[in-house]
Amino acid sequence: MNTTYAYLPYLVQGVTESVALGGASFLVATIFGLVLALIRDNSSRFIQTLITVYISVFRALPELLTILLTYYGSIVVTRSVGMSDLNPFAAALIALGVQIGSYACQIFSDAYRAVPRGLIEAGHAVGMPSYKINVRIAVPLMLRLAAPSLGSLLNVVIKLTAIASVIGVTELTRRAQIVVGATHDPLAAFGCAAVIYLAISAVLTIFQRRLETAKQL
């Protein structure tokens, strides 16, 4: 009789993959969203419209659907050019990066609008070029204003990594499924997975609280 506890180390190893996928997608998304938010407010009508369309499309598409489309779409592309298939982790990273990027872009756009205009005008007044205004004034203030929303976004992203299990990324939830195949005890396996997610979320919450109190000092 196999028990789930024998497979605990195997389950816990899934944390690395969940956190790696979540962290990497979050990083890609944040950078992507920040760059797009900066472009959005200082560019032509056409590019502004493109970015708005990007945000509204990914507001409507379920993350599961994006991941499936990216994975099967990438297979079609790689087969037609004769390359080897993209591995599921990379496909999930691309899909989540692009999708979460649209959420991050919205967060940064809101933050940009909340930056006091006077500070940016002051930058212009002392003759700073606009990239310098962005780097020294706008972006640091945006990051500070966006910090709480970004924190909860990171929490959301870690949870979304569970969806990557459907294309075979062996993260926590997928591993729990595999353990069920061996032990026939879904209650214990998914229960353990849920507890591990709770632990990850608890660590993130503590980290986030500390960051927010540090900011106030």
Binding site: A60, P62, Y72, V76, T161, I163, S165, P186, A188, S201
Partner: protein, 225 residues
């Protein structure tokens, strides 16, 4: 390669999932709001036991991914004999749709509790004191004044949550609920085309969310008048 997209049958098959997706979304929003409101009031109460159980509820259901929660409820719970042989098995726990409603409602309640709490905080002290001044009990003040104002102030946030719930319902396809996404997947399996059905499903999601957004902007314009 995309010739499947020109088959009307594909679109019809996927469209048959729309009522399921909408029903899941609506039920999850209704139960989520009801439970979420109770939890929000619990978290804000002075009784420590109520406060802590409310916070534990939001923490747990915000931390566990929906997919894991659905697997746990759908595959895990029948292992408990009082669920498997209890009176609710035949009427509730057997059905993947019922399990999906349960899972989404719990998850939604945790998120909506935060939204409603934000709304409650937006009610000014003066309004609460006015209730006390004319002799309302605390429960009456919450029911008649605090909650209605809180809901009105958080209409847009609840609307956003509605869109997120609609998207999340696609996860129910993992436990054999035949919603838009799982109909697409089933159709793709028959014709061994894994891409076109998903593109068609994407079109439907874009349409539904587009309609919701139009309705939301209408509500916002009316509430500003």
């Amino acid at each position: 390669m995309f010739d499947l997209l020109s088959h009307p049958d594909l679109w019809l098959a996927i469209a048959r999932g729309i009522p399921v997706t909408l029903a899941l979304t609506a039920l999850a929003m209704i139960f989520g709001l009801a439970v979420g409101t109770v939890v929000a009031v619990m978290v804000d109460s002075d009784d420590l036991v109520l406060k802590w159980s409310g916070e534990a509820f939001t923490f747990v259901f915000r931390a566990v991914p929906l997919l894991t929660l659905l697997y746990f409820l759908y595959y895990g719970l029948p292992n408990l004999s009082f669920v498997r042989h209890g009176p609710l098995w035949e009427v509730f726990f057997r059905y993947s749709f019922a399990i999906a409603v349960l899972g989404f409602s719990l998850n939604n309640a945790a998120y909506l509790a935060e939204v409603v709490r934000g709304g409650i905080k937006s009610v000014t002290r003066g309004q609460v004191e006015a209730c006390k001044a004319i002799g309302m009990s605390e429960g009456m003040a919450i029911r008649r004044v605090v909650l209605p104002i809180a809901f009105r102030n958080s209409v847009m946030t609840i609307g956003n949550e509605l869109v997120f719930t609609l998207k999340a319902t696609s996860i129910a396809s993992a436990i054999a609920v035949s919603d838009v996404l799982s109909n697409a997947r089933a159709y793709g399996k028959i014709f061994s085309d894994n891409l076109s059905p998903y593109i068609a499903a994407a079109v439907f999601y874009l349409l539904i969310v587009g309609l919701i957004d139009v309705a939301l902007s209408f509500i916002r314009r009316r509430s500003q008048m």
